[in-house]
């Protein structure tokens, strides 16, 4: 990075002169044109594929076209640079850009929600950055300063942040905290938790993190299967023969199933461990003032920041394996930019596979009076079992009828097995579901084989729905759903009065509290 500052840079030029960005910006424009071109190549690809043979033999056709495209790109980049000017004034930034379609963005600092610095790889050697400004409005209003010097970018950022602080000291916490972040150094950042590789291995085993890897591999999966098949054949294992059950005893089939299960589970577990390490390597959760910062990642380091007042729900997630080894995943769900049930995972802070003692310490810090691990939960009505047993019977029945009608009675046994598994899962679900409430918090317990505890402050509810189907009403049962800024949480099959009482209490908390929910 370039550290030296020339005199005219040390003072931000806030006069009304329009300024140009660095000529290196042409590189940026060229790259973005190329990206655009590659993105649109799909449309001309069929033409190229069809005419490939005849085209390649006639350089007199494609050569001029290619040269013209290259020239157009370069001219476009130069013109884009030429027409890109910006002006900084006391409390706003203006950007003029565009060759044919002129754009003039007039952005008051007060409307800027977030300032982001990007370091494209082709700028890194020269110490240039792109500075983009997020606004609360639509994406079209997004403004970007291309190719300015690093030091200048810092100054502009600082200027915007400081002004934000003066105008609205607390209103915009994104910026306020960022400003304080740049002012204070990391010295008063206190580390709350770190995760060792051993923890991550445990996390990989107990929680399936395969998708992290699979997502990256998905384009190659077909190839992988083909390769695996040819490899197995080469060491004289014929997959088709292996799976022809016709002349095998039952115990042999069972043996194969178990073998196959482990043969599948071991690589999956290994992949899952790798996934856990890739996303959580070097995990630290630290606290600076009222702000939690999570940093982790093997290849790209991710950083998620959350101010404590923005914390909405605290979740303790324990899969059944976690229950065995007494670990838990602690999740801090904050206000999601997307909101609702599709709350983005990236907005949440998860502390993977902590011990129960560590989780208690973290909870004590984030939600001091929470009794999430100690309070007695009230279960739900056994009518839940009745309804779901009936529903699963209705689901199973057609299959049973078909089996009997087709006279393949021996298939009834596996069907009975499925039915019993279904019933036991419903039973587990019923055992898990529970609720508790105290003066400050609401606690929900959920899960089937594993168990999740959710805990949130009463006054943070956004909206409450009292839900009661006609069937529940006949049994004097009911449920509710709380809408929080991080998503929705609900429970059903409670006693009618109990559910209503909780709804009333939550409404009272939300309506009587003058505290801000964020």
């Amino acid at each position: 990075m370039q550290q030296e500052t020339t005199p005219e840079q040390s003072e931000l030029d806030t006069t009304s002169t329009w300024q140009r960005i660095s000529p290196y910006a042409m590189l940026y424009f060229l790259m973005s044109f190329l990206k655009h071109l590659l993105g649109n190549i799909v449309y001309i690809a069929p033409g190229i594929v069809i005419g490939y043979k005849s085209l390649i033999d006639r350089p007199q056709i494609w050569l001029p076209v290619a040269v013209l495209v290259v020239i157009a790109l370069i001219v476009g980049a130069v013109l884009s640079f030429y027409f890109f000017t910006y002006r900084l004034s006391e409390n706003k930034i203006e950007i003029k850009s565009g060759v044919f379609k002129k754009a003039h963005i007039d952005l008051p600092f007060a409307r800027i929600q977030n300032v982001k610095q990007e370091h494209p790889w082709y700028f890194r050697p020269f110490g240039y950055v792109c500075l983009s400004f997020d606004t609360a409005g639509s994406a079209q209003q997004e403004a970007k300063l291309v190719a300015i010097e690093h030091t200048l970018a810092d100054k502009i950022k600082q200027k915007i942040l400081i002004q934000h602080k003066e105008v609205e000291p607390v209103a915009d916490e994104n910026l306020a905290t960022e400003a304080s972040e740049t002012k204070q150094n990391a010295a008063n950042e206190q580390i709350l938790n770190t995760r060792s590789v051993k923890d991550l291995v445990l996390h990989g085993i107990t929680n399936n993190r395969v998708w992290i890897i699979l997502a990256g591999l998905s384009p190659f999966i077909d190839d992988l299967f083909e390769k695996a098949d040819s490899y197995l054949t080469s060491i004289d294992i014929n997959v088709d023969q292996l799976f022809s059950f016709t002349d095998l005893a039952v115990w042999q089939i069972a043996g194969y199933v178990i073998l196959l299960f482990f043969a599948l589970m071991i690589p999956i577990a290994l992949l899952s461990i790798a996934g856990a390490i890739i996303s959580y390597y070097g995990f630290t959760l630290s606290k600076s003032d009222d702000k939690y910062i999570r940093r982790s990642g093997l290849f790209t380091k991710h950083e998620v920041t959350m101010r404590l007042p923005r914390l909405q729900v605290l979740i303790l997630k324990q899969d059944w394996l976690d229950l065995l080894i007494k670990r838990t995943n602690l999740v801090f769900a904050q206000i999601s930019s997307r909101g609702g049930e599709f709350a983005a995972e990236k907005d949440k802070i998860m502390v993977p596979s902590v011990t129960l003692k560590e989780s208690a310490e973290l909870i004590a810090d984030a939600m001091p009076n929470s009794q999430v691990q100690s309070i007695a939960y009230t279960g739900i009505s056994p009518w839940f079992l009745v309804r779901n047993f009936l529903l699963s019977a209705v689901f199973i029945l057609p299959f049973a009828v078909i089996i009997i009608a087709k006279d393949t009675i021996e298939l009834l046994w596996p069907l009975a097995g499925v039915f019993i598994i279904l019933l036991s899962l419903i039973y587990c679900r019923w055992r898990r579901w529970g609720i508790a409430i105290d003066d400050q918090f609401v606690y929900l317990r959920k899960g089937v084989l594993g168990v999740d505890y959710h805990c949130f402050e009463r006054f943070k509810v956004q909206q409450i729905q009292y839900r009661q189907s006609w069937f529940l009403k006949r049994r004097h049962l009911g449920g509710f759903k709380c809408i929080l800024a991080s998503g929705a949480l609900g429970i059903s099959f409670l006693k009618e009065e109990h559910a209503k009482e909780i709804v009333d209490q939550l409404l009272y908390s939300a309506e009587s509290s003058k505290r801000s929910w964020m």
Partner: protein
């Protein structure tokens, strides 16, 4: 630390959602919806019958069954929609606004006014004709949980909106 001990008192302390008096949505809204459903069912069935007439013998009997199916679904949807509209009701309390709906799966949504981010009134072409409006309330709970009260008389919707805006100003905690 606060304990859980005074819970037994609480049930009678808080105003209860059981005591809310709900106001039904406008009759003209229910009637208009019913009329639209009936017309839509008839039109779709007629279209299916016409298609069936011209394709008899050429295509299979699918067209024949389709018209029956469309008619049946249309009738059920019309009745269901009518019953649903009949149950739609809203209520305003000092600090919150509630909306009730659902035929079999009944819901009473209560939105504390303090948590409302944004209020909107929309009027479709038919609503405009009937001088009706839909009130939309947005909270931070996301677009999925925006709640809409349809079938309000114009001036009532406007009143509610104004009440919410005024109320937010006087008690806003932010």
């Amino acid at each position: 630390m606060e304990s859980f001990s005074n819970n037994s008192l609480s049930a009678s302390q808080y105003p209860s959602i059981s005591d809310i008096n709900f106001l039904s949505v406008e009759n003209s809204y229910i009637k208009a919806n019913l009329l639209i459903s009936i017309i839509a069912t008839i039109v779709l069935t007629i279209i299916a019958l016409i298609v069936q007439h011209f394709t008899t013998g050429k295509v299979s009997t699918i067209g024949f069954h389709a018209s029956y199916l469309i008619a049946t679904i249309g009738v059920i949807a019309t009745i269901w929609g009518y019953l649903g509209d009949k149950r739609k009701a809203y209520a305003l309390r000092e600090l919150d606004i509630s909306y009730r709906n659902g035929v079999i799966f009944r819901k009473t949504i209560t939105q504390p006014i303090l948590r409302i981010q944004h209020v909107e009134i929309t009027r479709g072409p038919i609503e405009r004709k009937l001088e009706l409006a839909t009130l939309l309330l947005f909270s931070a709970g996301g677009s999925l949980h925006t709640f809409a009260i349809p079938g309000l008389p114009d001036e009532r919707a406007e009143q509610l909106r104004q009440y919410i805006l005024d109320h937010k100003d006087t008690t806003s905690a932010e």
